[in-house]
């Protein structure tokens, strides 16, 4: 296989909100910046974000960044690092206003300021309330508008895009410095080394490890797989946010509005089971209560369908008129993805993965940090991460709605700024090792070699089913223990994947095999970390340890691929300038 080499000051892997924001900082500083992306930038998953971006602008009434900070710490169930959370909340207004100046078409108030929507968990007065309107949006297309605005700006700044290129592995120098990535150009099938003096990962989430996910097909956790294979740990991978009602077998979201309007859940006996779990709020109980009840029904054999693996959301009693008027789009979604018309039949639903809180460990400057000579947060030279693939950690055990887009802007920019400084201080390209691409080429050769036999399709399906059944929204000790065993078996099978199609141009079979290898790393990290954490916190909810346990578990998990080793590091409870927010019960 021919091996080309290209040199840049900086390589950014990923063209979602985080990657584009970082690249802009670099290109505008006059640095030669390459952005590598599997799909056209504006088709990144950020396009799906509708709810908005959170920032304490105070346009709708009193608001302060300290309140936003408090809500985020509380939302994280105290697992978030308070230095990073302070940075997020303090910088949010600045990056939102900046985006406005870049031309982002935010909705506006009559006085011309940005309109802000209410969103769950955002309060005034350090959690005391009342609720505050903090979410800035562009109709229901906030993510879409953000991508377009940032993409245009990057084109103007001279960012070089490598579209339909897939980064495959990190390239490391002998001293441990990151020197770029190997990448596959889909159009030709060639592998190249993209050499960089600084490398940023902004590859998004890995929701596709679960059978039920709202994430698009591209969200395969490639950045996490690459980092893990290079020997770096992944942080807090047991924490995944679920939405209670995704269409079973498809993942597409059914809005909470359906239950708000009077829809309710049924088990296989036709019982309205939420009455048992939450006698007052019933189907309107909070997301985690509803999801847990659904998971319990399914685990105890009261799920519906041939495999007993979903429950039903009934809304036909609302009548056609109300459904069409108050719940627009729901009928189309149900017909298309569940094959039922909800004015007659109930929709099969399951708790569905939505957001990955964990990721590649970073500090609030976007630098990747790992245990080393300088303590638990030793900076890896030349390596940066931002967005959903990174763990700064601002979301801790549970993300607050609208804080992800804030994260992309704040930490995308911060990482870009840090890289600019690093590049000033470290001129010149270190020598590439002679074997820079060997690991990647061997991996590809193995896919096409005679030793394989495992099908990408089969192994992928088994992986997603196992994750769903064993590390779902409500976690049971027996299932977790069994899950660890199974995921390791699946990982072993994934070492022997084989693809029949050995052509070069747009060989999607090869791409999918390479993606599956990344999914496997993320799944292992998730299952092993979840089995080990013997408490419930935020989105990690165990049947056998049902309380948060600060005495033993107020710490971050670090999973290493080698031997599935786990290590832990302290949560940073010390903000940058304000007083620490001490742990207390998280009640809403």
């Amino acid at each position: 296989m021919p091996l080309a080499k290209r040199q840049f000051d900086a390589v950014v892997v990923g063209a979602g909100g985080a990657g584009l924001r970082a690249a802009l900082q670099l290109s505008e500083a006059g640095l030669r910046t390459a952005v590598v992306t599997k799909v056209f930038p504006t088709r990144s998953h950020t396009v799906a974000a509708q709810g908005g971006v959170g920032a304490a602008l105070g346009n709708m009434g009193a608001d302060r960044w300290e309140w936003h900070m408090y809500d985020t710490v509380k939302g994280s169930d105290w697992l978030g690092d308070q230095d990073a959370i302070e940075y997020l909340a303090r910088k949010a207004p600045e990056v939102v206003i900046e985006l406005e100046h870049f031309g982002m078409p935010f909705d506006r108030n009559e006085d011309g300021t940005i309109y802000q929507r209410p969103f769950g968990g955002h309060m005034q007065n350090m959690g005391a309330g009342p609720a505050v309107q903090r979410s800035c949006c562009a109709a229901d297309r906030t993510g879409h508008a953000m991508l377009h605005t940032l993409y245009q700006r990057n084109v103007r700044a001279g960012t070089q895009f490598f579209v339909e290129w897939m980064a495959l592995d990190l390239v490391l120098g002998a001293d441990g410095r990151v020197l770029g990535v190997t990448a596959l150009e889909m159009e030709t099938g060639d592998v190249a080394v993209l050499q960089a003096r600084a490398t940023l990962f902004a590859t998004g989430g890995a929701g596709r490890i679960f059978a039920a996910t709202t994430n698009a097909f591209i969200n395969t956790g490639d950045g996490l797989g690459m980092a893990a294979r290079a020997g770096f740990p992944l942080e807090d991978m047991e924490f995944w946010q679920f939405h209670p009602t995704g269409v079973a077998g498809a993942g597409v979201l059914i809005t909470e509005g359906v239950r708000g309007e009077g829809g309710y859940l049924l088990n296989k006996g036709g019982e309205r089971f939420m009455e048992r779990y939450a006698p007052n709020a019933k189907d309107l109980a909070s997301r985690d209560v509803v999801s847990r009840a659904m998971a319990t029904e399914i685990k105890e054999g009261r799920g519906c369908g041939p495999d007993g693996d979903y429950v039903l959301l009934k809304l036909d009693h609302l009548g056609v008129e109300k459904i069409e008027k108050r719940l627009p789009g729901i009928r189309e979604i149900a017909k298309k993805f569940a094959n039922v018309d909800p004015v007659k039949d109930p929709i099969p639903v399951v708790p569905t993965v939505h957001y990955q809180m964990g990721g590649i460990p970073t500090n609030y400057l976007g630098e990747v940090v790992v245990p080393g000579k300088g303590g638990p947060n030793t900076v890896v030279p030349g390596f940066y991460a931002a967005g959903e693939c990174a763990c700064a950690s601002v979301h801790g055990a549970n993300r607050l709605g609208t804080n992800s887009l804030t994260d992309l802007l704040v930490f995308g920019k911060a990482a870009g700024e840090t890289m600019v400084r690093f590049l000033e201080e470290n001129p010149g390209h270190p020598e590439l090792p002679a074997d820079a691409a060997d690991r990647t080429l061997a991996r590809i050769a193995r896919l096409e070699g005679p030793g394989g036999g495992e099908s990408v399709h089969e192994v992928g399906r088994e992986l997603r089913r196992t994750m769903q059944a064993h590390a779902g929204v409500f976690r049971f000790p027996d299932l977790l223990a069994e899950g660890v065993k199974r995921v390791k078996e699946i990982a072993e099978r994934a070492e022997h994947l084989a693809i029949a199609d050995k052509s070069r141009v747009f060989n999607t079979a090869r791409v999918e095999a390479l993606e599956l290898q990344n999914l496997v790393e993320v799944a292992r990290a998730t299952m092993v970390s979840a089995e080990a954490r013997k408490e419930s916190r935020g989105a990690h909810d165990r049947s056998d340890f049902h309380e948060r346990d600060d005495a033993n578990w107020l710490k971050h998990t670090l999973w290493y691929r080698e031997g599935d080793r786990l290590a832990y590091k302290p949560v940073n409870l010390k903000p940058l300038t304000v007083e620490s927010i001490a742990p207390k019960a998280r009640v809403y």
């Binding site: 599997k38 396009v47 879409h144 698009a216 591209i218 789009g329 993805f337």
Partner: protein, 80 residues
């Protein structure tokens, strides 16, 4: 039918930012991929060149499209 390489390129371009589109386009290709050539192929390429939200609005019937040349393929997409 489009050439083999062309089909594979199309298949990749059906990887989208919205899960809804991913699912519909994958089904569409399984069902109608064979019939894509000439004007139909061109129509399909124009549709998938749209932004994700615009494409989903068309497919889900939230928006209409007046261009006669796109109607047949759009109808297939809506039925997929």
């Amino acid at each position: 039918m489009a050439g083999e390489v062309e089909m594979r390129r199309l298949r990749w371009r059906c990887r989208r930012g919205l899960l809804e589109n991913d699912l519909v386009l994958a089904r569409f290709l399984d069902k109608h991929g064979q019939a894509l050539e000439g004007a139909r192929l061109a129509a399909f390429e124009r549709l998938i060149a749209l932004d994700d939200n615009d494409l989903w609005d068309l497919v889900s019937g939230r928006a209409e499209c007046r261009e006669p040349g796109l109607q047949e393929v759009l109808a297939w997409l809506r039925a997929a």
